[in-house]
């Protein structure tokens, strides 16, 4: 694992055009090959941070630096499931990153896309329409696209939401492989429990509540400040280490 930081933000504040930030004081540094879990309530700034890391959102204050062009994997429900594209077509979209997007795909691009599908275990589903795949399979196709793109930094928006446990395990194994290759993973999630498996955890609620390894960041105080009354702490042994907790969604009418 290289120690050169793959993602660095300093005093980062973000807004959507207004002078008052929706997210501020984000200060983090991630070495290449590490993983970060981004926790926070809906509207807490997770997606906003990702939009700054992709370069779509210009910082209001502070700075962002990312190694190369990151791959962004939206929740697959945000993609067009009715689109007439196969798993292979989607993986092949990663080859548009090679800077010759106005030319037809080359044979080598197709080979790379097939190879990436094989790596995520979907070579036999290459010709199936993206919208007809299961949630977990779709997520793996988007991972294949990121592999074809050869992104060093991957931003994943709730990749395990609505994914069955078997597919989830497969995706988590892929995450480990990608980290071993020196790629850096930033994963937003609602699943506080899964955060313990990451190298680092970032808690966001309009500001940076906590950043550090899981035992530092997953404290009762940090989680309560992050989620307010949406958090239920299940198991706190009082050692100051990571606690077990779940979030509950309150629906305001």
């Amino acid at each position: 694992m290289s120690s050169a930081p793959a993602v660095v933000t300093e005093g980062l504040a973000l807004s959507y055009g207004s002078p008052s930030p929706v997210l501020e004081d984000v200060e983090l540094a991630l070495p290449a090959g590490s993983s970060l879990c981004v926790l926070g309530p809906n509207g807490g700034g997770k997606t906003t941070l990702f939009r700054a890391l992709t370069g779509e959102l210009t910082p209001l204050r502070g700075s962002v630096r990312v190694d190369g062009r990151p791959a962004y994997l939206a929740q697959t429900e945000r993609t067009r499931l009715d689109f007439p594209v196969s798993a292979l077509d989607v993986a092949l979209m990663g080859s548009l990153a090679n800077g010759r997007w106005w030319l037809p795909a080359r044979r080598s691009d197709r080979a790379a896309a097939r190879g990436a599908l094989a790596r995520v275990g979907l070579e036999d589903r290459a010709d199936v329409r993206f919208g007809e795949l299961s949630g977990g399979q779709r997520q793996r196709v988007l991972l294949a696209r990121a592999l074809v793109q050869d992104a060093r930094v991957l931003l994943l928006d709730e990749p395990l939401a609505g994914v069955d446990p078997a597919s989830g395990e497969r995706i988590e194994a892929l995450f480990r492989e990608l980290r071993d290759e020196g790629r850096t993973l930033l994963v937003s999630t609602h699943d506080v429990d899964s955060a313990r498996a990451f190298d680092r955890v970032l808690c966001l609620n309009h500001t940076q509540v906590a950043f550090g390894n899981p035992s530092m960041a997953l404290t009762r105080a940090a989680l309560e400040q992050t989620y307010g009354d949406e958090i239920v702490v299940l198991d706190d042994d009082g050692s100051g280490g990571p606690v077990r907790a779940v979030t509950v969604q309150h629906h305001h009418h």
């Binding site: 007439p84 594209v85 979209m93 990153a97 106005w102 037809p104 329409r129």
Partner: protein, 289 residues
Amino acid sequence: MSLLASLPSPGDLVELPFMRTALIELTLLGVAGGLLGAWIVLRRLAFFAHAVGTATFPGLVVADATGFSATVAALAVALGYAGGVERAGRAGRDPGDVATALALVVALALGVVLASDVFESGAAVDRLLFGTALGLNDGDLWIAAGAAALALVATVSLGRAWAATGFDPPGASTVGLPVRVADLLLLGLIAVAAVAALPAVGALLVASLFVVPAATARQVARTIPGLLAISVAVAVAQGAVGLYVSLWLDVSPGPAVAVVGSSLYAVVALGRAVRVGTTSVPAPVVEAT
């Protein structure tokens, strides 16, 4: 004399000079409309394509009455409209259906007022709104050929970018695609092609060439190349059949093409509904791990 007895020979379509010109025009526009139409339905720009045609109507009325070039006037209005939509989209404000509908009403009302009270164009209104594929000149053919060539070149060179952007906009921009440029080119190209179609189908029936054939193809195509091919085939076929019907029943070609295209859409939709109704539930998604 019964209708069937008055059926003209299909050969008339190529032997009668005005029919031949109309057939060439509708075939060229079929290529342009079929290709761009595929992107229009994939990118959900059908209402835009309809609006950009209608928006040209007041410009056409002014050009017709003053002797100014109708093509230049329509192009100015159409590109201006496309530019406005792109700017609004870039600022994060989707112009939305309400704004589009409002623009349509204003364009039609303005055109009618100009035609009836300012220029007293009278009879020209029909032609400007619904086209006249039987009164075309070589210039119209060249413009249609240009639109078909542009649509083909753009589909080959920009198709991958348009597909990736329509499928997953944030994902496409992080791949490094110039999403904004590609989108602007798509809107601009639709505007140019709509103007090329005005002499044949008029301001109100642009969608019959640029939306209907692709919408029909969208129901059956399973891949993007398949969608493009079926869409062009349907657009060219509806042009020829529509022209034949107009010769047979002595109706205006523009509306005839529109009716033929819409009927085909309805037949395909009905066929699909019947098939879905008779087959059992769709195969469930298999979770392979």
